[in-house]
């Protein structure tokens, strides 16, 4: 029941709940005032009727004295007729002191009242309500002789003499009818006023709520996303203040929304700008990377060419010495020229190797990881040897990978050069680099481990960030580009971790056979 009532209330607006509460209160008040008013009126009418009955009875008692004195009902006939003429009087009875009926008139229900008239009343001529039934009252009054006039000559004053009693039965029909009439009149009046008041209250409530409803509607429109919503500044001051605050809030909101729209509209351009900047930056990185690669290539060429150039220089010196000492003959010259040509040929081959090595691949292909490692070591062999670093190599044979071969080679070069630089920088006496080639789970892996002491823990998470370098003349591009190549271009991943006395970088790329069909 309570839940049902609460649900019913929840379906109603506050205004409706308040209206129902006030209406019920007013109607209850009207009903209460009707009942109270009717009760009071009933009491007043009852009192008046009782008073009237007493007066009628007292008058009859006064006018019945002669009839009782002479025991002649005729003497009271006129008084009885006058009494019976009063509205509501249904019967009259006159009895002598012995309770013998002298006169009776009317048709009272004898069973309703006791047969004898109560003699309890001892106040002269004062009538009392002697008995009351559901439908009628019976008033009784004693009949006394009229007291003689006060005279200064009378020493003995004769006491009034009781002659008998009269009783008057009055119907309560008048009371019942009057009560009903008063109740109906009160009910109609109270409810008319209540309805009038409710209509007035409704009118006033509507009048007072109109600005609030308008404000609420404006809020709803604003909530639904409508623009240029403004509340009317009307009604009571507090509601007008609320409307003003709402309007201010809407103005601010719309300004911010316009700003946001403008921001959204320019965001694409800004993103494009940023993307272009990034592309330019990447291009610059690539350029820098290429320049670095060119430097590396030139350095490696220089390393590769130093031995042949020395050999050529010695060969030329040998040719000069042989000529000066006349030891130069055709055979020896041919042999030395041939040897020189071979040296020059190797130098030319070296250039070709480097040129091919640094030429970017156009598309992904299957390549042999072992061959790439061998090619890289051939390029870097001289540089490592000059640095006193020993390279150890082990692992599976004929490990194949799928991707860009030259880019993969550049990554290996970057990793091995970093290891060489670390060993040189830390001046490790017996520097070495272990290269392990393996293949498992359709992935080819090359681990490069050195004994340069490892990467500091605070540096380790940042070694793949662009422009991050610990070298005095480093660019911070190498490892960043390596990560981009392996992870973005070849769908692999590159990791770095410290070992007991150095660092290990692992390069994992999909093995051949995993290429898309």
């Amino acid at each position: 029941m309570k839940k049902t009532f609460n649900k019913f209330l929840q379906r109603l607006t506050f205004e409706r709940q308040l209206g129902i509460t006030v209406a019920l209160g007013i109607l209850f008040l009207a009903l209460f005032s009707t009942l109270v008013g009717s009760w009071l009126s009933n009491e007043r009418v009852r009192f008046n009727l009782l008073e009237q009955g007493q007066r009628i009875t007292e008058n009859l008692a006064r006018q019945s004295a002669l009839a009782l004195i002479y025991a002649s009902a005729d003497n009271a006939a006129e008084a009885v007729n006058a009494t019976m003429a009063f509205p509501g009087v249904v019967s009259v009875e006159i009895r002598d002191v012995s309770q013998r009926i002298l006169l009776t008139r009317g048709s009272a229900d004898s069973a309703e009242f006791p047969a004898a008239i109560e003699r309890a009343n001892r106040v002269q001529t004062a009538a009392v309500l002697e008995a009351e039934s559901r439908n009628a009252w019976r008033f009784a009054a004693p009949v006394y002789t009229q007291p003689s006039a006060e005279s200064p000559f009378n020493v003995q004053t004769a006491a009034p003499e009781l002659l008998g009693h009269v009783s008057v039965v009055m119907s309560k029909a008048a009371l019942t009818q009057t009560t009903a009439d008063i109740f109906v009149a009160n009910l109609v009046t109270s409810f008319s006023f209540a309805l009038l008041f409710l209509f007035l209250l409704r009118f006033l409530t509507n009048h007072m709520n109109r600005p609030l409803n308008q404000l609420s509607a404006s809020m709803a429109r604003a909530e639904s996303g409508e623009f240029n919503v403004r509340a009317m500044l009307s009604g009571p001051k507090d509601i007008a203040d609320m409307a003003h605050a709402f309007n201010s809030m809407m103005s601010v909101l719309e300004e911010r929304k316009l700003d946001l729209l403008m921001l959204n509209e320019t965001l694409e351009h800004r993103v494009a700008d940023e993307a272009a900047k990034n592309r330019e930056k990447d291009h610059m990185l690539i350029q820098q990377s290429r320049l670095a690669a060119v430097g590396e290539m030139i350095g490696n060429i220089a390393h590769q060419w130093r031995q042949p150039i020395n050999t050529l220089t010695l060969l030329l010196a040998n040719i000069k010495d042989a000529y000066e000492f006349n030891e130069l003959d055709k055979d020896s010259l041919d042999r030395m020229v041939k040897e020189g040509q071979m040296i020059i040929q190797r130098m030319s081959t070296t250039i070709d190797d480097f040129r091919n090595f640094f030429r970017p691949n156009k598309e992904k292909n299957c390549f042999s990881v072992n061959e790439v490692v061998a090619d890289v070591l051939r390029i870097l062999e001289a540089a490592f040897r000059n640095s006193g670093i020993t390279i150890f190599m082990k692992g599976d044979e004929n490990v194949m990978a799928y991707g860009y071969r030259n880019e993969y080679s550049q990554v290996l070069i970057n990793v091995l050069v970093n290891a060489k630089d670390a060993l040189q920088e830390r001046k490790v006496a017996d520097g070495y680099v272990h290269i392990t080639i393996s293949c498992r789970d359709a992935l080819s892996e090359v681990d490069v481990e050195d004994n340069a002491g490892g990467i500091p823990s605070d540096v380790l998470p940042k070694i793949f960030d662009p422009y991050f370098t610990t070298k005095e003349k480093g660019t911070g591009i190498g490892l960043y580009m390596s990560k981009m190549i392996i992870e973005n271009n070849m769908d692999g991943h590159i990791t770095a971790r410290n070992t007991g006395n150095g660092a290990r970088l692992g390069i994992v790329v999909p093995s051949c056979g995993t290429e898309p069909a």
Binding site: A65, Y70, A71, Q146, S148, S151, N154, E161
Partner: protein, 334 residues
């Protein structure tokens, strides 16, 4: 209602001799007044034994009655008398002190209130009561009480003079009120050769029944009905109309001790002559002063009366009382 005063219209019918008597008395009073002035010592201030009057302080029409009585007292005493109006709240001790200061020996107490005050004065001051109808026997036996009820002897004599054929006088009385009067009436009737048939009635209803019996058996030629001063047996609103109606119908003569009854239809009435009553009371007071003793005590009938006759009733009864009958007032008024 009992109205023992004389209406002005009746008073105007007094005889010339009475006017002359009053004139002589007035002249005497004037002479006494000038005599008193001559000796610069009024009689009432001379310290002699004094008679004072105590009367009810009451409004008209009763005040005039007491004034007349006091006038009669002063007439009799030949001097002005100290009059003390009393009310229910009058302090009797103050009154007594005033009386003793004036050397009062006898007070004439008038009316119920005067009598009440006088009886509370205590010993040392004699009391004569007047201006009351009847007094309970135990209260009356201590002093003379002159009733306002006319002496039955005077009534019967007047009635006998009017209706010589009368044999019986019928009366309904309340013994508690008029027992003393009926004793006198019996003697008076006997003196007039009449039979007094007195019916006792303790209450109104028994009185009515007695009247009904009387009227059913009375003989208009030989029986007359007497209405004494009695509020029970001669109740003005219920009994008197019956009596007047029945007596008229049955031609039974009715006489009364109340002057107003004659105006309502009884044959004749005797009523107090207030000035004469005052004189009688003054005479009684003087007797007490002179003898130092009350002498007569108890209820005394009124002998100072005036008479009124209703000629219309007399005519209805078949006779015409002539002027020789000496009625002070004749109704209807000419």
């Amino acid at each position: 209602m009992f109205l023992p005063y004389m209406p002005a219209s009746i008073a105007h019918t007094n005889s010339f001799s009475r006017l002359r008597e009053r004139g002589v008395m007035a002249l005497g009073v004037v002479l006494l007044f000038f005599t008193a002035l001559a000796v610069i010592s009024p009689a009432w201030a001379a310290g002699e034994d004094r008679i004072a009057v105590i009367y009810p302080d009451i409004g008209e029409p009763y005040r005039e009655i007491f004034t007349k009585i006091i006038e009669g007292v002063e007439d009799k005493l030949g001097a002005r008398v100290a009059s003390h109006p009393v009310r229910a709240d009058t302090d009797v001790r103050v009154l007594k002190a005033s009386l003793l200061r004036q050397n009062t020996k006898v007070v004439i107490a008038l009316g119920r209130q005067g009598m009440k005050a006088a009886t509370e004065l205590g010993g040392g001051i004699g009391v004569v009561v007047g201006g009351v109808l009847t007094v309970p026997e135990n209260e009356a036996r201590g002093q003379p009480v002159v009733s306002l009820s006319p002496d039955p002897a005077l009534l019967f004599a007047r009635m006998k003079a009017l209706m010589p054929a009368t044999k019986r006088v019928l009366v309904v009385y309340n013994p508690a009120v008029n027992g003393w009067l009926i004793k006198l009436a019996k003697e008076a009737a006997r003196a007039q050769g009449l039979e007094l048939v007195a019916h006792e009635a303790q209450d109104l209803r028994s009185a009515v029944m007695l009247y009904q019996e009387i009227f059913s058996a009375a003989n208009g030629h030989s029986d007359v009905l007497w209405l004494p001063q009695d509020s029970t047996t001669v109740e003005e609103r219920s009994i008197l109309p019956l009596v007047l109606q029945e007596s008229w119908n049955k031609n039974i003569a009715v006489f009364s001790s109340n002057a107003s009854h004659a105006r309502r239809g009884v044959l004749f009435s005797l009523y107090p002559d207030n000035v004469a009553l005052g004189k009688s009371l003054a005479g009684l007071a003087q007797d007490i002063l002179a003898s130092g003793d009350y002498g007569t005590r108890g209820m005394l009938p009124l002998r100072d009366v005036q008479s009124v006759v209703n000629l219309r009733t007399a005519k209805h009864l078949g006779f015409n009382p002539g002027s020789q009958q000496g009625f002070d007032t004749i109704l209807p008024e000419q």
